[in-house]
Symmetry: C2
Subunit: 337 residues, 2 copies
Amino acid sequence: MYNFDVERFKKMTAGALAQRENIEKCADEISKKGFKNIFFIGVGGSIAHMYPLQYILKTNSKIEAYAEIASEFMLMNHQHFGPDSVCIFTSRSGDTKETVAAAKFCKERGATTIGLVAKLGTPLANICDYVFDNFAEDDNLAESLYLQQFPLIFRLMHNNGEFPEYDRFIKELETMPELLLKAKESMEERARAFADHHKDTPYHILVGSGIMWGDTYNYAMCILEEMQWIRTKSIHAAEFFHGTLELVEEDTSVILLYTEDETRPLMDRVKNFVTKISKEVTIIDTKELELPTISKEFRKYMAIILMNTMLERISIHLERARNHPLTTRRYYRKMEY
Amino acid sequence: MYNFDVERFKKMTAGALAQRENIEKCADEISKKGFKNIFFIGVGGSIAHMYPLQYILKTNSKIEAYAEIASEFMLMNHQHFGPDSVCIFTSRSGDTKETVAAAKFCKERGATTIGLVAKLGTPLANICDYVFDNFAEDDNLAESLYLQQFPLIFRLMHNNGEFPEYDRFIKELETMPELLLKAKESMEERARAFADHHKDTPYHILVGSGIMWGDTYNYAMCILEEMQWIRTKSIHAAEFFHGTLELVEEDTSVILLYTEDETRPLMDRVKNFVTKISKEVTIIDTKELELPTISKEFRKYMAIILMNTMLERISIHLERARNHPLTTRRYYRKMEY
């Protein structure tokens, strides 16, 4: 695979999975102590990768879960937040200004704080009650986060009497490193062709739904906009027909990030429409992957990890084809604002 | 004002406010009976105009509130929904497919259903337990909805012991028709100039926060995209710095829909940044309006109604300047999908 370090990737997946027992211990302590609700708090990619967790809870659990953007959360005087809240933060750098401030805010008010970081000793790691670290970089961060957050969230549900399949789920989760590598490989040539074909495309519409919505929003904003300076519209499949559809013409690029969950028919509806109008429809669908170690009912969860790993191939080929490094920024962290 | 029927507008505001006593009766019955949570369910503009209500509840009340897209809600098996839920739907036409199906779904499962429609006798009106009708069209629908939904939501909070200022708030709400007309007038020349200047602008970034976020999302998708076929990115002010900022260049149009609520500093931060980079920043800010009958602490709520009425002036002038009727659709309700 182009510009890909297998060993580094394996180190990331192994490192994330190695946190499992500590994460379970944390979840068990929290469940034992009792809590009122969960707050997922982050900004940009970190909140985007928590929307799926909120969706999983809403559709599987009676646990109340809020997902709030860090700097808005700090101002809004959220009436459901309190000392009995469990607050989850992630920050690769460990020093994202808004996230660090929010973690401090929550801790000072007596809430339980959990931080996922790439490195210990960083401001976020120093604040939180529970900290899990695993080295990851922009190109494999999502996988690292989900491999750690799944044991946390599903264990909390399990402890709440809602996910009896927990042990089997974890056993299957532990087979993901190999499946992720295969998914990446399966994407390689498609990603190369996509990037070559679309190197001058100035605008993409990205559509997702259900568990996949957060990652759809993320790929549009944090990769295509931030790292490639390409204009995007990310739109939920259930909302697509209430405005954005009117923009689709024969040459409009529409990227469908298919979910394997119960909202899949919403994606089918968009697909049926856009393929009638546009010749530039790209479908990325984890359903095409063989996952021999994953039960049918767990595929929809694993799909968000697989999707991120497949999308990374598109990013790296866009970097090549467009001669635009993924790390170049005009403004982010380069000027005061 | 260009292409504006004052009498028709006055009829709409009077009609919406005339529903107040019936709406309060409904709220009082619901509070007396007791309920577990509120579900705002809609699609496109109708859900967008309910996000502010969810925000108001989150920041003022212990009442649990969910805002869900109708067709996703139907599929997701939401674990907090049940017979003790109060479900609120709006549909101007009264026959939006997804909304009608969701209302039927909720009613069949024993939940309390409330519908706001422009016309009785429509499918949504025929399904719901409580129905409030007021004639409105696309250009004044948001104002009609908020003038009816505010008494509903604030009364439920009041009944929950959380909004003792209710009576005063309603007295002030009843002065809104005149203030709305003045706000519209104050916008007229700016809207004309904006439309003339931007008639060929192919892409706008729209930024909002807090109470104003839903209407920001709405104006981008349901007006600029659907009615003018102009590409947009709507982005929350707290998220702007995590991707979208990289797209801003000297000639990039950025439209800031300022809130008057506690998240205003988030908008200031975006303003400080974008005005350094782009020469095409448009600020629409209700704070500039004199509202002699509105208390300072209620301005932030009234601001979303005022913003919609001001934005309508931009829409009508875009229609003129671009010679593109707001009612023309390529696909919506014109083909099967």
